[in-house]
Symmetry: C2
Subunit: 460 residues, 2 copies
């Protein structure tokens, strides 16, 4: 169980009511008008959960799955120096985000005894230079490298190609029997191409849960196995998600951070703020902003309404940024460009490690103010400086505050954003769980690659 003193992350919208925002401020009237609609949506979602919808919401309570992931991680831990995830999109982003959020920033570069598990490589592209580079690195360590192939169907072209290369390499170098021991298939529990292959070849497997789309799968075996093997406390992560579940069930808009995040984004989108920037002041959180980018874009960017009848061509564009780095890249545009963005800042109250800036160079007066402060204090001052500067130029922004970065708070954040996405789907009146727009590109690729059944150039 998480320690009692572990706190919740909080969503702070008070800056949205700053006087300097003028007509760009969020009004109590807007929120009050939306509150009854949102209340009904939250109630509907909770009712639908009982009927088996929104299945990702139940993942934190799947003790069997958590135990299975932990046991398999324990089994492989003494056997492997490298874990390579072969996956793309929802099969990759959660793995990357958990690792960057919760492990050492230079984890793969640490000596083995300083790491909490094997090196982790997430191959989320088929760039040949990248893949060849990975094989360089693995080199003679191939017998101690585990490949986790993640694909619900097994037919994702990128992942399947990588798998075919790896399988061939392993068999050539190590023989069929040993090869099979170094591939783990994370796939549909019952059917599909990868499930069939895994049975034929005798791979260990983990399940991709039914009814949970790729972008909502980070808290399933899809995202958890690499985290567990690399030493992240996935139980604490799940406790955090479960704690957030209590928050995002609340029917009162102002007490439900998922509903509030969705509502604020929805209201500002209606006012022409077509971009939603997520800007963590923490490198550890940057890949979570990238993970959110898929969640928000693929769930809300839709041609048709939820009923599939009316054309909407709707959807905010999520943008990842990094503080304070992007103050020197994007903030000029954010402050002086068009009024087309809503900015969510992520702030960390207490970093696990901090560094004091030396009081030195007495002759250099221009830098004297820095001496004695810490980098963490500077980063927080940069965040506040940017926030106040944005408000001064009437740019709305809000803050998600992390007391600390721990599995418990990261689990909360993931669950918060997922729950917000479902509610935003209702507000935008779209189906947040499909992605029909990606099919044509896949089919044309099949055609170009000569796949059977795709001899004619697909048109839709």
């Amino acid at each position: 169980m998480p320690a009692k003193n572990q706190k919740l992350i909080t969503l702070e919208i008070k800056s949205l009511q700053a006087k300097s925002l003028g007509p760009q401020a969020l009004t109590a009237k807007e929120l009050n008008e939306l509150a009854p609609r949102v209340k009904k949506m939250v109630q509907t979602i909770e009712r639908e959960r009982q009927l088996g919808r929104h299945r990702y919401r139940d993942l934190p309570y799947d003790k069997l799955m958590i135990r299975q992931v932990r046991e398999l991680a324990k089994f492989y831990r003494p056997k492997v120096n490298n874990l390579v995830v072969l996956g793309i999109g929802g099969s990759a982003l959660g793995n990357i985000a958990l690792q960057q959020a919760l492990n050492h920033p230079y984890y793969n570069l640490l000596d083995q005894q300083d790491r909490s598990g094997p090196r982790l490589f997430v191959m989320d592209n088929v760039d040949p230079t990248l893949f060849a580079g990975l094989l360089d690195l693995i080199g003679d360590d191939l017998p101690r490298t585990l490949f986790n192939v993640i694909s619900k169907s097994g037919e994702t072209a990128e992942t399947a190609s990588q798998y075919l290369i790896v399988r061939d390499l392993l068999i050539r170098k190590l023989g069929s029997k040993k090869a099979a021991g170094q591939i783990l298939a994370t796939t549909d529990a019952h059917s599909g191409t990868l499930r069939t292959i895994a049975q034929q070849e005798g791979y260990n497997t983990l399940p991709v849960p039914d009814g949970v789309g790729g972008r909502f799968s980070v808290l399933s075996a899809v995202g958890l196995f690499s985290a567990a093997l690399c030493g992240i406390d996935i139980e604490d992560l799940m406790h955090g998600a479960a704690a957030m579940d209590q928050q995002v069930k609340q029917t009162a808009l102002l007490h439900n951070p998922a509903a509030l995040f969705a509502a604020v984004n929805y209201l500002y989108y209606q006012r022409g703020r077509v971009m939603s920037v997520m800007m963590p002041y923490s490198n550890a959180l940057y890949s979570l902003a990238d993970w959110f980018r898929q969640l928000w874009a693929e769930s809300l960017g839709k041609r048709y309404d939820a009923a599939g009848t009316q054309e909407l061509f709707v959807g905010p564009t999520p943008i990842k940024a990094l503080g304070s780095t992007d103050q020197h890249s994007q903030v000029q545009l954010y402050r002086e460009g068009p009024q087309d963005k809503l900015i969510t800042l992520l702030e960390v109250d207490k970093f696990d490690r901090d560094i004091k800036i030396a009081k030195q160079l007495p002759k250099v007066k221009a830098l004297a103010y820095l001496g004695g402060a810490t980098l963490g204090q500077l980063l927080q001052a940069e965040k506040q400086g940017t926030e106040l500067a944005l408000l001064a130029s009437a740019r709305p922004c809000l803050t998600i505050r992390f007391p600390r970065l721990t599995p418990y708070t990261i689990g909360q954040f993931i669950y918060l954003m997922e729950a917000a996405t479902t509610i935003a789907g209702s507000l935008f009146n779209v189906n947040p769980y499909d992605q029909p727009g990606v099919e044509l590109g896949k089919k044309i690729t099949y055609h170009l690659m000569g796949k059977k059944g795709y001899e004619k150039m697909p048109r839709d």
Copy 2:
């Protein structure tokens, strides 16, 4: 000199005239109408170059600077295992982009004998966890670590803080004399805080050129030193830039790729496409998309017109994406969301390394089409599939094509984008070289950190 058979990168806009785009297509009329204006702009820019403006355009010909960078790299090469760049924004992005574009994808993880230089760390944030992590890594290797402090003034709070920490650490561990030998200051050639410090402390220095803003400085010592020390052929890079200079001097719109890129972006912005997505199908090019993101946003995102009198609140928002990875994250939105984006795809014709996909698993028919192809072919098919799918849903996109990825073509690309930014500045009628919008945030940070002269909360 570059080999004669080295080809130029090309800008392809034929997809913008695809029939399926309907009213979203680019018309010959639009281009023809803009051509005379653009012709005058290019002529004006060339004239102004003679008067000392647009100084970044002359960097490829600065043989003295190139020699100085190469010689200093040669001097340090046998002495260092780690190069740490302390810089942010324009002092960091070019370093990162050149390294990712032209060195091994896992360069820092390679054994020393397999690398073309020291490990490279670009510290472009003051995240305390990140910085503490870096110090973990360096550990006992501190005597063989060079810190390149890059700041024109030396007063950038982030860089100055890092510098103060590093200086103190070096002096405590190695003594003052040895410490000074491990700091290199890249700063204003004549004045400023860091120049003064460098003189006092006896550091080696490199110049930040006069009249070249941070975001245009990658082809100066700012971006070139880390590249040279890590084994990148900076002469070839500069030859590439110079070759592109010949192209972007052309006054005919259709023969000038910088003018054409600027014009197309401008025309579509006027039509409501407020986002400009750059989506390379190559991991090596991803950080160049991030570099471009600063260039485009900070140069064009402006409140006032070039004369400083009329309020515009103008500027496209540049977005980085990655093919094929983001097909599984963003393409749903790009195809089905609002008509608010212009998408530039970057394609590589020939990868230096490629990997054949094994013909295996005869029983698994669903994957048979992949066997015998290469990853490079698949990546290209993914790009074409996405391009055709975008066009089918009336989403305009264009392509920048790289024959190969070499210093020569990367130099071209950098120069192309920089020249395009200047022309885009003229089209949008803004000053592409200032960034007044970042000042207030800096001042508020000074206030919060207790800097002398900032006792009152700054208002503008």
